[in-house]
Structure formats: C-alpha cells, structure tokens
C-alpha cells in the first residue's frame, strides 16, 4: 500500500468518489496554491470500496462548501498539530458562481464567454441546482 506522509496542519478532503479527485482539484483551483497538495487516487475504503483523497498542507484558505455541490459524500477533516481537530460538515450554498458549468448547449452561456456560470439551489433535499439563465439542472455525484 502506498504511504503518504501525515499532515501537521491542513485539510483532508476524504471520501471523494473514486476518479473524482482531479475534478475537485480543478474546481478548487488547487494548482494556484503555493503549498503541498497530495492527490491519492483509488485508495481502499471499507465504505466505498475505492475512494480518492486530497490532502492540502497549511491553513484553510479555500471555500470548501462548494464541494457539497459536486459530491455529497465528501468529508472534510481539519488537521492541526497532526490531529483531527474538526470534522466539518458540508452545507449546500444557495448559489454558486463559476464552480460548475452549464452543459446545456442551448444556454446563452454557451455563446457568451464573459457570462458567469451561476446556479441556484432549487431543491435542497435532492441537491438540485439550476442554471439561473436556462434553468437546466445540475446534479453532483
């Protein structure tokens, strides 16, 4: 089994659906962070069989709530002094902008590149977001 070193301070994004880590990496713009980021793909999981994990070193400076939009299974652990000090629950934001993209080829955003891709939460129970322009549905994992 592959071993990745522990974190002194940082966050662990756990229980990402296997194969989804790179998508999360891109959505959170982690390439712009000037700290260590580890992506673990296809880690063994009792609950999920296989899962992805992202470990980010350093203080929390990113908006993690958007992760709930993408994958509701994700859990967040905040690490300080090598210990989990908080398990954070993700709450669904009422609106998200430029996190997810409208995939409707007939949407105005498909031809106007400058428009922000904005979605509003229309059904909290079923975690359904709709594009504010064309009302197409976005459903995460």
């Amino acid at each position: 089994m592959l071993n990745i070193g522990g974190l002194r301070q940082g966050i662990v994004i756990d229980h990402i659906q296997a194969g989804g880590a790179m998508k999360i990496y891109e959505y959170l713009n982690l390439e712009k962070l000037d700290c260590s980021v580890a992506i673990i793909k296809n880690a063994r999981s009792n609950k999920m069989g296989k899962k992805d994990i992202i470990k980010i070193e350093g203080p929390l400076t990113i908006d993690i709530n958007v992760l709930g939009v993408l994958d509701h299974n994700i859990t967040i652990n905040i690490i300080e002094d090598d210990k989990i000090v908080e398990k954070r629950k993700l709450s669904l934001p009422d609106t998200v902008t430029n996190i997810i993209k409208c995939r409707n080829p007939r949407c105005i955003t498909s031809i106007e590149q400058e428009l922000p891709h904005s979605f509003k939460l229309t059904d909290r129970k079923n975690r359904i977001y709709r594009c504010i322009y064309c009302e197409s549905k976005f459903k995460g994992n």
Binding site: C107, E112, Y133
Partner: protein, 307 residues
C-alpha cells in the same frame, strides 16, 4: 420595475388582473388607443419570428405607442459580436420597454439583469415563451369563462413543444384541471414534467396515442405539430402522422362546446376543413395574443389606465 421572463413570474392574482385587463381591452379598444402615446417598444428579435414580432408591434401601435427594432441577428450588432448585456444597456437609452426573442435559452434573463427598462421574453430557444402561454390562457378564459374544472387535451409533439409544457405548468395552478396527453410514444411529455409537475401535484392525467376515442371528454383540445424530423425512422412517422391530424370526421366525436387551439403555424395537423367549424378558434387565438400583449405592455410600463 418588472420583467416577464417566465409565465410563472406572475402570481395567480396578477395573472387574473392581466386577463381581466386583456378582456376589457378586447371589449373597449378605443379606451386604450392612446395610453402609450410617446412610449416606444423595441422588438429585439435575434431570430425571425414574424408572427410574434408583428403581434407585439400591433399591440404597441394599438396603444398609441411606437415601435423600433430588428428582426434577425444578422441585422443587429450581435453579428459584430456584441453581448446581450451591452445591447440591452444601449436599447434602454432608446426605448421604454422591449420584447426579446433569442435562440439561446436564458438570453432574456441576461437582458433583464442589465436593463433599465422592462424586458419581455418573446421566446428563448426551447425554454420559455410566456406571451404565448398568456395568449392561450386568455383564449380559454374568454371562450369558456374559466380556467379551472376542465379537461384539457394536448395533442401532437408533447416532448419538444415548449408551448405545451408552459401551458401545463400554468394550468396546474388552477383546481380540477385534468389533462389528456395524446402523442406517439416517442413524443410524450418529458419525465421531469410528469414527475415534478403532474405526479408531484397530484394532477389527474392520461397518456395515450388515441385522439378519436378521447375527444368526447375534452373541453379544450390544444393541437401542436408533429414534425417529421422528431421521429427516429420514416416508417414510424408514416405510420403515426395521420393519427394526430384533426379533421372533420374526428371532430364529430367532440363536444359541441369544445374549443380547438393551436399556437400556429399550422402545417397539416389540422385539416383546413375544420377551419369553418365554430369550435376552431386558432385564428381568434392570434387576435387574443394582441390583446394580452397590450395588457402586458400597459402593466409593465405602469401607464395609467383610463376609467
């Protein structure tokens, strides 16, 4: 300032007010002939739709106002790459209200976000066409005297026909409206409409491919075109196309006070022999379309209504 982007932007009370105003305009057009004097309507049609554009223009002219605009993207600044947001900011300097038709869904929403004048969605792709729905509602309300306690048949392409989806969404807000959804299997209503609107609202509906045998139950028959290109194969099209054509022979099974509506243009789904039947109201419906657009312009411009 209000816009009209979706038919559901209006509450039932506002809708009632609008329909009442439309009926008053119909009965006393002279009363409203000058209420929009000095006002300008811009018709921003990024794709051709002669009927809808002329209906808006006729409405504004009948109110004593003036119109300006373009009728295709080629003749607008969109051809030079201008965004909808920029166009509407400029048009806001030229006109008092605008009607926008756009092939892309959500374009009128973008316009409304940046406009300083009311924006009316005159159709955005397969998404919304609220003034067609208002037209349908005014037609039904005026001819039958109600929008509740009725059985509405929808026939033809129920999968892609946005007028059908909008009308169902509008009518489920009234008590005891039942639907008979008549279409080939391939062109049945989308599942979201079935699950999220009809099933979720406990609305009574029947999905069938038999027009004739369901006609006797209907108070309204809303016809739409079955387009050849919607079929997966030519064989199915040929097999099914005649089942969804309304002719005099089929119409004899309908109630004497049933009404046949159609958003137009009609191709061959209603035989021309039906046109002279008093139940065929699709051309009258086009006239109702002008009245409801007049009412909408008055409401959105907040002009004073003469006593």
């Amino acid at each position: 300032m209000r816009h009209l982007i979706s038919p559901l932007d209006l509450s039932l009370e506002e809708l009632e007010e609008l329909l009442t105003l439309g009926q008053d305009i119909m009965n006393h057009p002279e009363k409203y002939a000058h209420v929009c004097e000095g006002k300008k309507l811009a018709t921003l049609f990024y794709e051709p739709s002669t009927r809808t554009r002329l209906s808006f223009e006729s409405a504004m002219l009948s109110l004593g106002g003036q119109v300006l605009g373009f009728s295709s993207a080629d003749s607008s600044s969109a051809a030079k790459g201008e965004s909808v947001a920029d166009t509407i900011r400029v048009i806001s300097c030229y006109a008092d209200i605008c009607a926008m038709r756009h092939p892309k869904e959500g374009a009128p929403t973008v316009a409304a976000m940046h406009a300083s004048i009311p924006v009316i969605n005159a159709g955005d792709g397969g998404h919304n066409h609220p003034t067609q729905t208002l037209t349908d509602l005014l037609t039904i309300k005026t001819l039958t005297g109600r929008l509740d306690h009725m059985t509405v048949g929808m026939c033809g392409d129920l999968k892609f026909g946005r007028t059908v989806h909008s009308l169902i969404n509008a009518l489920v807000r009234y008590p005891d409206v039942k639907f008979v959804l008549i279409s080939p299997e391939e062109l049945r209503i989308p599942s979201y409409l079935r699950k999220e609107v009809l099933d979720a609202g406990n609305i009574s509906y029947l999905e069938t491919d038999r027009l004739e045998e369901n006609l006797p139950d209907l108070d309204i028959l809303y016809m739409t075109r079955v387009q050849r290109e919607r079929f997966f194969n030519e064989e199915d099209y040929i097999r099914l196309k005649d089942s969804f054509i309304l002719d005099a022979a089929k119409l004899q099974y309908a109630k004497k006070d049933m009404y046949v509506l159609h958003p137009l243009p009609r191709v061959n789904e209603i035989s021309t022999e039906v046109d002279n039947d008093p139940r065929a109201v699709y051309f009258k419906q086009a006239q109702f379309g002008v009245y409801i657009r007049m009412a909408l312009i008055i409401k959105l411009l907040e002009v004073e209504i003469p006593c």
